[in-house]
Amino acid sequence: MYELLISFLTNTGYYFISQDFRYVLMILVGLLFLYLGIAKKYEPLLLVPIAFGIVVGNIPFFKGFGLGIYEANSVFHYLYFGVTTGLYPSIVFLGLGAMTDFSSLLAQPKLMLLGAAAQMGVFFTLLGALALDFLPKEAASIAIIGGADGPTSIFLTAKLAPHLIGPIAIAAYSYMALIPVIQPPIMRLLTTRQERRIRMDEPREVAKTERMIFPILGVLLCCLLAPTALPLLGMLFLGNILKESGVVERLAKTARSAIIDTATVFLGFCVGMSTQADVFLTEKSLLIFCLGALAFSLATASGVIFAKIMNLFLRKKINPLLGASGVSAVPGSAREVHLMGQHEDPGNYLLMHAMACNSSGVIGSAIAAGVLWSFMM
């Protein structure tokens, strides 16, 4: 009896926590994220599953038992399989495609450049990470945080540096949730009041046929250039054609409800669980967090500055705030842009335009991920 009791007690989470307080630290981080997601409503669809995953993943246990996410044959390991193979991110993109309306982008193709410009942040961060002695594959995975797309970051990291999925995913999602904190100062710093007050024209109405042709053109042009973007963009545009074709509405409906919700819950929860203190709390993770903040800031700045450069050549100026929403982070950054625009001029409606940049930012960072992947071949 005594041995059994001792053996049980030394296998409780309480015992392991008493041996290694880092678990407590991570559980507190999880609780903080839960608070941000629930009380502050920062991107709750992402933060709630991740945060609860952090809590659950940091309840320590005896290794070698088939319990944890990193142990073969555990339930969590099988769920985590969808992360490490890149399946969940691809499936999320399918649902995203089935819920995204590209109309305002189609009405204003030039806004697509802002989604491209924001990806400069990715490549600047690549330099930074290389300079900090990260291996090239690690550096590329870190850089893609600047794309501000959770699934894209997870996908690329799963392919290039699977050991970093935890910190990179957490950094990506944290900064996406912290968009309201990160972006406004940069936007304000880089624009004049005059520029922030620029109003955009009402976009023209877009025909059904145009919306139907877009996913086909999109997948061909983007993926013939960067075939490595196929697992993301192929699925994104598949979802979009299900939506826009209008003849398979039941498939589109399932894609944008049951399918994406399921992938979202498991993706978030597993990513959260992957932050087990003993593998997560390393100096590298800290560096990744710093580089992630850098990536987000650089991406925001690149977008804004590029918009200002475009204005030098355009007769009809665009509001440079829109550049900030090129980072995607759907729809957080579009909201910030819109709010700042309205703050300067309550009659200024930037939301539609900003969401156009958002969706082009999704495409842009998927291409960037493909390009980085192919560079590391």
């Binding site: 030039k110 697509m112 989604g115 053109l217 042009l221 390009v371 560079f375």
Partner: protein, 137 residues
Amino acid sequence: MGFANIAANNGWSMAFLGISIVMTGLIVLSLAISQIHKLVAFWERRQAKAAQAPAPVVEPEIESPAPALSGQCPINLDELADLYQPLTEPLGAPFELKELYRVAGESDLPHPHITIRCFREAGLLTMESEGLFSWKR
């Protein structure tokens, strides 16, 4: 560490080339989509012209693929109910299903069994109490 490391890992090339490729990709795509509406307009003009030619044989309404998934119920349930409902007026409300079958048979309406089951599944016809039914439209 630092710049040396970037250069050693081909960093500058990757960054420059990466930005260029992403830019190229989205510029090409944005040019392409800026042309779609012209294509669509051209297409529609052609179709409009074709429409002025004598119309081809009109296909019956059953062409729609909808019944594939909604089981074996007729599509135009509401129209059918328009046919059936008057028949039940003499019966008062609620009426017995048996009576509805009888009058439907007398009026020579096609497929009364299936149609009436469909009414019930679609909630157009609901059971008030044991064996007595009424319309719910």
